[in-house]
């Protein structure tokens, strides 16, 4: 039996979507965390009063997490507050959760699920799907896991409180990361061929594309800067030719 009614949990879930709303360089998402946990605090301490304000001030301190996994912390902290846990213990718990919720989310979403979903959308565009089909497929695939993590995270947090760390360790996140990154790599291979294929009819264009693919593959995350430099270089040359042409 949850210590918080369904209505309160729904409000906390909805507010957790805005957890990064006041992101800042001092308390990071601290104020957003307090904003998200506030319906739970109001249920426990009343709609107004000194106890509520003290609890809000405690939770508006420094906090950080991946935004989607913040619902785990919101759920667990509201459970601890409902259980009457000492504020110092709650604070230590939040500090302990910060790093792991951040790195889990970064690995699962930013470096696996998002690239995979984006490239799926791009492959659909290149395969000739309607623009809205490609966008719809991307948003559906991406947000299915996003929303599942938000909803399940809050549920697990509220139900398990301090025990949430163990449950997170048992969650099949690594399996999703492994499978997602394999799928992403497969889709990247497919997308690269689909983009470069039209240029293969011309030997020079084909060679340039193959060289760019090799460059991208070996430079990895540094490729963006090199490609921007190439873009600037080509534009500068074109303008120079243009000025010479106009002058002649």
């Amino acid at each position: 039996m949850s210590p918080l009614p369904l209505r309160v949990r729904i409000h906390m879930l909805l507010r957790s979507f805005a957890v990064q709303g006041s992101w800042n360089y001092e308390t990071l998402i601290g104020a957003g965390f307090a904003f998200a946990v506030l319906p739970g605090l109001r249920h426990l301490y009343g709609a107004k009063g000194r106890d509520l304000d003290r609890a809000v001030a405690r939770h508006a301190e420094l906090f950080n997490s991946h935004p989607y996994f913040s619902s785990v912390a919101v759920g667990a902290v509201s459970r601890l507050e409902a259980d009457g846990t000492e504020p110092e213990v709650v604070q230590r718990f939040k500090t302990a959760m910060r790093g792991s919720l951040g790195s889990m989310g970064d690995r699962l979403f930013w470096t696996t699920w998002r690239p995979m979903s984006v490239i799926l959308g791009l492959v659909l565009v290149m395969a000739g799907a309607a623009w809205w089909v490609a966008i719809g497929a991307f948003l559906l695939v991406y947000n299915s896991l996003h929303l599942a993590v938000r909803v399940a995270g809050l549920k697990i947090g509220v139900e398990s409180g301090l025990d949430v760390g163990r449950l997170l360790r048992e969650a099949p996140l690594q399996r999703i990361i492994d499978r997602g990154s394999r799928a992403a790599c497969f889709l990247i291979g497919l997308a690269v061929v689909m983009v470069a294929a039209p240029s293969m009819v011309d030997p020079v264009a084909g060679f340039v594309s193959v060289a760019a693919i090799a460059l991208g593959f070996f430079l990895g995350l540094r490729t963006r800067k090199v490609m921007i430099a190439i873009l600037v270089g080509v534009t500068t040359l074109a303008l120079a030719f243009g000025f010479i042409g106009h002058g002649a």
């Binding site: 623009w131 291979g189 264009a205 991208g216 243009g242």
Partner: protein, 223 residues
Amino acid sequence: MLLDPTAWLLLILLGGLVAVDGTSVGQFMISRPFVAAALAGWAVGDPIHGMVIGLVLEAFHLTVLPVGAARYPEGGPAAVAGGAIYAVSDLAASTLLVTVLLVLLLEWVGGETIRLMRQGNIGLVAEERPGWKTAAALERRHLTAIGLDFARGMLLVIAGILLLWAGHRFVLPRWGMGEDVPQVVLTALVAGLLASSVRLVGLRGWFAAAGAICGVGLLLFSI
């Protein structure tokens, strides 16, 4: 006239929406360049060409990671401006290349405004002032920060559309390289940027190779 009033209104609202989607609210990824640019193209009547520039911008944005306090270029509002302006242009390869370059500049400007906003949010929700951390004050200040982010996105789209329009008028008449070179360069850049994202997801070369072989097979089958 550059754009009709309805298109302006739709684009400005879309700019605010994708700005808050980027960080403040939801992160449903409507702020991804290929989504934002296609929606902007749709707002001006040509989603297909909005999607075309969105695809190029997305390739540039794939390896950008919004981790912690990192400074990163902001894709959403810039893609809205880029998608709209490219969709109402002559659709030439040189136009696409110049638009992409200017949008990348706008992305950097957007990233800087995020940094300034986050600095400003310290005064709003993080400074130690006696008595402000009440429930009502926290809610008010947090929602104010989200409202400011929305306004920032709207302003970026207005500035971006005007910058791109001016950039087109200045650069494109002086373009002296024809259309073949920008076509080849853009294709190669997108292919190279897509290949670079294999490193992002874990350098599983065999799976990428299998995907490439499937791609070749599909192309041969479709000929």
